[in-house]
Amino acid sequence: MPVSLNYIFKRVLLSILVVIGVIVFSYILLLYTPGDPAVKWAGNPRGPEARKAIEIARRELGLDQPIHVQIAQFIYHVFTGNLGLSIAYKVPVSQVITSGFTATLELLIFTYLLAVPLGLWLGIYSALRRGSRFDSFIQSLSVVLASTPTFWLGAIIALISYSTTGFLPYGRVSYKLATSTGFNPITGFYLLDALIQGNYAVFLDALLRIIPPALAISVYPIGVVARVSRTLVAEALLEDYVRSAVAWGVRRNTIIKHFVLKSIIPPVIQISGLAFVYSIVDAMVVESLVFGREGLGSILLDSLHKADFRVTIALAIYLTIFYISVNTIVDIIQASIDPRVKI
């Protein structure tokens, strides 16, 4: 078994410590952000007893307690699975975040399903033509792609889409289409939901709307994966076992498929995993600010704006767990396919 119990135990322990650290840090930071959560929790009271309402709200939120007590209570609630109600919207915090989280995750997964194979193909193809014009072009392109600001590219893509086709890829799905066809989100992943329900019109519409932001976000993983895989393949081609295989007259495609690819997959997975968690920030910016899609980006902005500290901290926790989970999964996959890796 490539994964030891010791590893899992250490990871879980580390995750708990990191989550506690994130809560403490976020809580202290949010104390200094504008806005009084008690005013929001009291419902922006306007009557003569507004002050009384705010004071009661302060007590209900525990904001009248010393800061260390507040933090301890928050940590207790997190680990007992009770994040409470959103201060601004009075609905469960988990409900606010989960729907946004699935929206962002759907966009990211879709992006990486496109970006990683494309980046890998570009890298391998470039390495096999090392020194050619194509190789130089791909190398330069990968640097440009990896360093392109995604929000800028997103705006350009939206503009081109609207000016050439008249279609503005705004939102996740057409409200009218979704309502008129009885589309009912089940998992929150609209593409998957549409397929499950056999609603191909909504599937197509959601697909058309996810492609532009996915293109914008994909430039970074395409650039990174292309660059890394090109280097790895180029290095692998100079290895003794490859040269021996060539000398033995093994076919070129067989060498690449069975020897070269096998050796580069683990590092490519690792770099893709790292890029994946990094891209969530890109996704949060692009989805809300450029394409008007719901997601974690708009939830974060809104929670800060409305002094909804429960949602802000819960979001930080979700992201922390997401980072740790992705990295753990990447480690496990790597250990499964590379016998040299023991975790």
């Binding site: 929001k40 409900q95 309502t179 996959i333």
Partner: protein
Amino acid sequence: MKRIILVLIALIILVAVLVVVLVNKPSLVTPSTTPPSKIVVYAYNDRITGIDPSIEDDTGLVVLGSIYETLTYYDYKTGEVKPRLATNWTSSEDGREWIFRLRNDVVFHDGSLFNATAVKLSIERARDIYRSSGRGAGYIWDALEEVEIVDPYTVKFKLSYPQRVDILASAAYASYIFSPSAIVKSNAANYTDRKLEDWFNGGNAVGTGPYRLVSYDPMREIKLEKFNDWWGWRYINSEKAPDIVVIKIETDPSAQYSGLLSGELDIASSVPRETISNLKKQGFGIIPLPTYHNFVLFYNTKRYPTNITDFRLAIAHAVDLNRVVSEAVLGMGSVASGVLPHGFPGHIEGLTYEFNLDKAREYLKRSGVSTPIKIELLYQIDYEETKKFAAIFKTLMSELGVDVELNGQDWARLKDIARGVWENPEETPHLIVADWWPTIPSPYDYLYAMFHSESKEWNYAGYENPVFDELITKAWEMEGVNYTGALELYKEAQLTLYQNAIALGLWDEIRPFVYSQRVYVPEEALNPMYTFVIRFELVEVRS
């Protein structure tokens, strides 16, 4: 090895999907089964803060206004109170007892019957929650001692002092009637039990309105469905009314504009003002609704130099409000006359300070304040128009030798800073721009909140005047027996504010509601008293 990887990946995906399915419980009240034929999508510009019919006092109005009804309805064009769930009413001579006769043909969305018990429960809940916690707009029922059930379709409001209950019953908040069945459905012990509030805010409703709640996501969209058993369909042609209404939360005005152009939206509440003429050219319908949402410049009366009346008057006369309306609001507003908006009960003309720089300099000289002097203006950055106003104001004040330091904040921070005028006036900006919209059609709504010495959350002028307090309190109590006399007292109170330049009314907003050719929105569907609420029963779907 490959198989292990594939199985691992498949397992991860399966677990992820299962977790998401289990965690992401949809907040549907009742899933719609039949695909509707007439759908209208209405873009609203803010997220919904709650839909408890007794407590909600903010953006939830846009939803509550369609699914619940009040006993009466305020007709802003005539200033009259009209019947809704009540058919008629009478009051005693001393204005302390009001008898309302109720419609006997009304059912709630769950099929339960509307009657006097529902009225008693709904009104007393709003009052009691306010009394115990200060939350909601239940303060409008301050005088209410009891709602007595005379018979199943007659109620008597008993008051501790005279009030216009017919006006209070038409309020935008705290007057909605919900079914007593909500208590049972929410497993609440009584009507003040928090479980009931959580049940409502969790996306549940049992009103009598023309539309019933289908799904509720306060951050994204709210779906309403035509309630076929609504009593009012007998009087309104229901054939053309929408079957489904989607209230789409779209906070970005540009996105509302794009949504109209692409056909995704049918009605928009907040397109950028500069796009109005273009939309008009393209055949979109525009209703420029004069609203009761007004903008006021408060003077910090507790800090030098804005504690000097002549200095305040100097500033008032140096503000060119016509320019402000033209450049900051792009014509979508009317120059304010006093602090009550045009068309609102008790509004009086002639309370606009003349733009006259000579007069302003004269007052400045009289104030003894030597220039150049620096003062601070606090304004809200969430509104494009207040940002533009701040820039214009700074330029105008430079004519007087007054250097204005601009302090733009979002609403939450502005409120934090502005209420400091009571505890720490020397650290609070000299000038604060704030906005207001009413809960009830009474001048008391504006005058109490913004200028009464006990209203320390909203009186950003830090204004304390026992005579003024007495005037408006007396007027409020007089409304029930001598409405005309009460309006006279409110007029006197406004003159006091005007003469002492406690605040400068800037503009009353005119909000352009835009609709596509696919629908027709009659003017009667909108009412400034219930801002942003659209009476969808009057909307016609053309195609």
